[in-house]
Assembly symmetry: C2
Homo-oligomer: 126 residues x 2
DNA sequence: TGAATATATGAACAATCATTCATATATAAT
DNA sequence: ATTATATATGAATGATTGTTCATATATTCA
């Protein structure tokens, strides 16, 4: 797989071994990256925002975002499958809310990172 | 954009207004989702893992991951552009490392979420 | 200067993804 | 039972993305 060898193989042997030894299994990597991938879409980030301290049905979310019920429903399925949201059925209506506090924590932490690195001030991002 | 109206518009008016008012601007949503999107790829998560408490050159990372230098270099460019990694040049060699502690914090928080929700135990994920 | 090494990048291609459209399911109301 | 409402889902499509291949840049060494 590696195209050609370089001197680093010998010079950095310890650091390379350290990285190899502490590398998680592939399916763990897959779980974690899949989780972030779900957070990595503007539509889903908007849905997550709408659900901060708010329980909304599909119809509500569609109106907040000015998108079709179908598009929202498809995205909610992905958020459900990643355990980012939970839902509660009441008659015909399905109410969605955030599954736990981690989602908001992750959102806030990413926001802090962007404020620090991109120089966007807190006011604009709040 | 919305396909048809539903009763929620009136019944949930307050909740809908709350979500609309607290919704960040579109470009803010874009920044945050773009950040998570960068974390949402197995190759990049592996690179991030390799760089935990470790400064490595492109060649090292390629060997750790058993991938071509070109593929790694492309991914490092994305990580650089998202300010996830920083780099330091020493002659021909470019050493990469994580830009700040947020990246590792986000990784750990996502791991905790997965452990809690997916029932994977801590041992497997560490 | 010229050859070798380390990294970066543009173009191409296959794979993945978000939305739309049509349709299906489930519940409520008449 | 029939109709209306709320949500879910399969297929199709245009857009985006990760890797490969070829090539370019930058630095070191002879």
């Amino acid at each position: 797989m590696v195209d050609y060898d370089c001197q680093c193989e010998e010079l950095h042997e310890n650091k390379i071994q350290k990285a190899i030894i502490s590398m998680p299994e592939d399916n763990i990597i897959k779980y974690i990256s899949a989780f972030f991938k779900i957070m990595g879409d503007p539509t889903r980030i908007k849905i997550i925002n709408a659900l901060f301290d708010n329980e909304l049905c599909v119809c509500d979310i569609a109106e907040v975002m000015n998108m079709t019920h179908s598009a929202i429903s498809h995205q909610l399925r992905l958020l459900r499958e990643a355990d980012l949201v939970k839902y509660r059925k009441e008659g015909k209506v399905v109410y969605y809310s955030l599954n736990d506090e981690h989602v908001e924590q992750l959102y806030e932490l990413a926001k802090i990172h962007i404020i620090e690195k991109r120089g966007l001030n807190a006011k604009i991002l709040s």
